[in-house]
């Protein structure tokens, strides 16, 4: 899909496949076109060209929207309602029966931790509370796909954990979660797959479960490291350097680490610690996006 606003290209060439039942992370710097992409998938914004299919039907069709939940980026809702009234409104718009809603609303309020605030107007909510009610609104009808546009941007640590748990619970339920986020540490622990968007184009896609098989950085604290021992690491590492008692190296994969330890021990070194650091998503992100050139 492609989207232009006037002569500004918001999404250049979006080509994406999201597996059902997974948690999909959609990453990219500010202004990359993540929100615009989600809006196209929901039918809020018409693509300038191209088309998308969600659950086998054209994106934005009423029939598909029945199976979709959405937490918008700016999570603004009718703030003159109480949280329970807001959930009832959204539930009814999803076509839910009154009886079903009566039983589901307290459950949802409980899930997002808003039961103590049930009689307040949403107007008086803090940013994080607004986000929580937004999350409840997106999940009220047990959708098959949930689009979350930066769901943790205003949340406290408990709130973030809550969102993480909710997202995982949705996957357990069999739902698919499409997640826009800048918090890579969160994405790293929740997502199954990620795609990187840059200037409106998908530049890379990764299976996060496979990420661990790639290179690892290892920091070893040891004494009696001989230069020969370091040189002998070559078969397993791509880089190694010593600074005092600290040996830093990049191993080809975590599978080779036992060989490295055995080699070092055999060469007479005393090893005090060995700490592997997985090539983090953040490193990957920075590598893919390049340096920040400003927006």
């Amino acid at each position: 899909m492609r989207k232009e606003y006037g002569n500004k290209v918001a999404v250049r060439k979006l080509s994406l496949m999201v597996p059902l039942g997974s948690i999909f992370g959609f990453l990219g710097p500010n202004g990359a076109g993540k929100s615009t992409s989600i809006k196209m998938l929901l039918g809020l914004v018409k693509p300038t060209s191209g088309e998308a299919f969600v659950l086998g039907e054209r994106a934005g069709d009423v029939a598909v929207r029945r199976k979709i939940g959405f937490l918008p980026e700016h999570f603004r809702f009718y703030d003159w309602l109480t949280p329970a009234e807001l959930l009832r409104l959204h539930g009814r718009l999803c076509g839910m029966a009154a009886a079903k809603l009566r039983e589901r609303i307290p459950v949802m309020l409980d899930l997002v931790g808003l039961t103590p605030h049930r009689d307040k107007r949403v107007h008086d909510f803090s940013k994080g509370m607004m986000q929580r009610i937004g999350l409840a609104q997106a999940l009220i009808h047990e959708p098959e796909i949930i689009f979350l546009d930066e769901p943790t941007s205003g949340l406290d640590p408990m709130g973030r954990r809550l969102v993480r748990d909710v997202i995982r619970a949705q996957r357990e339920r069999g739902a698919t979660v499409f997640l826009n986020s800048h918090l890579l540490s969160e994405v790293e622990v929740t997502c199954d797959n990620v795609a990187f968007l840059k200037d409106g184009e998908v530049v890379a896609a990764k299976d996060l479960h496979a990420l661990g098989e790639a290179e690892v950085h290892v920091v070893v604290r040891a004494r009696q490291l001989s230069p020969q021992a370091i040189a002998g690491l070559a078969p397993w590492t791509t880089a190694a350097s010593v600074e005092g008692e600290q040996l830093t190296m990049t191993a080809r994969s975590s599978d080779v680490l036992p060989h490295v330890v055995r080699h070092l021990a055999a060469s007479g070194a005393d090893i005090y610690s060995l700490i592997p650091a997985r090539a983090s998503l953040e490193d990957l992100f920075v590598r893919i996006m390049g340096e920040d050139r400003g927006l």
Partner: protein
């Protein structure tokens, strides 16, 4: 289904935000003022002991002034209360969570429209009916075809509402308000021009008046209503919003209804296709 949920929530919003009550209070305030004015006028009749025929004519004219104010009040209330409903939700982003729900977009717009129509009907019934009731109860005057007149005033409000909805799918709240009030002002001016021309028999002025009524037929609906409601004598006063000099034809009412439907249709169409 979605229509009724949206209509209900529109009504709820007006009630919660106290818009509804404020408008009703303004209507009641007007009725009280109208009652006081009638009261003093009738008392002064006693002092001057005018002929019954003159008294009746004066009270009828006062009633028409009252109804004219009701008309103006209803149109302005319609525009003010509905001006933010589409554009405001688009610019604040509340529309995102609504328009992604499994209801077609036209139901969102029409639902809101129905909500306003209900409120306007209540407002017109209260103020228009109230004015007539006060006049009848205090002065014994009754307009001709009162119900027909009320329907025409209601139609004028629906026209203003639909035009406000239409521009609301394009412009920001403020711009929308400026455009719709401006259009109504234009129609207002056109109405007077047409009347004046009827009096001065200037054909070119008639043409200008007709063209403005075609651009925005709101005021001409009122002039038709005034014509249908008043007693023949009151209508012969040369310069007044109720003068019979230049009466919009029933065709004009047909045109206004068509205008209303087209505006609503364009609103639905544009709201359906635009990016939110």
């Amino acid at each position: 289904m979605g229509c009724w949920v949206m209509a209900g929530i529109t009504f709820r919003e007006a009630a919660r935000k106290k818009i509804l009550w404020t408008a009703l209070l303004a209507g009641l305030g007007f009725l009280a003022l109208f009652g006081i004015a009638l009261h003093y006028q009738i008392e002064d009749f006693g002092a001057h002991s005018s002929a019954p025929f003159i008294r009746y004519q004066i009270l009828s004219a006062m009633l028409m002034v009252g109804l004219y104010v009701v008309d103006l009040l209803a149109v302005v209330m319609t525009i003010l209360t509905s001006v933010d409903t589409i554009s405001g939700e688009i610019s604040s982003g509340t529309i995102h969570a609504i328009a992604t729900k499994p209801i077609p977009r036209w139901q969102i717009l029409i639902g809101k429209w129905i909500g306003f129509v209900g409120m306007i009907a209540g407002f017109v019934a209260l103020t228009f009916g109230g004015t007539i009731a006060v006049a009848y109860w205090m002065g014994g005057v009754m307009p001709e075809n009162a119900f027909h007149g009320a329907l025409l005033v209601f139609l004028e409000c629906l026209l203003a509402l639909s035009v406000t909805f239409m521009f609301g799918t394009w412009f920001s709240t403020l711009t929308n308000g400026v455009i719709v009030i401006g259009l109504h002002g234009l129609a207002f001016m056109g109405g007077w021009l047409e009347q004046m021309s009827g009096f001065t028999e200037s054909a070119r002025l008639v043409a200008v008046g007709v063209v403005t009524s075609l651009i925005m037929p709101s005021e001409s609906i009122w002039r038709r209503a005034a014509f249908e409601m008043q007693t023949p004598l009151a209508g012969s006063l040369p310069f007044s919003p109720f003068a019979n000099v230049s009466i919009p034809s029933p065709t004009m009412i047909g045109y206004a209804s068509f205008y209303l439907l087209v505006a609503l249709g364009i609103a639905v169409y544009h709201f359906h296709w635009r990016d939110l």
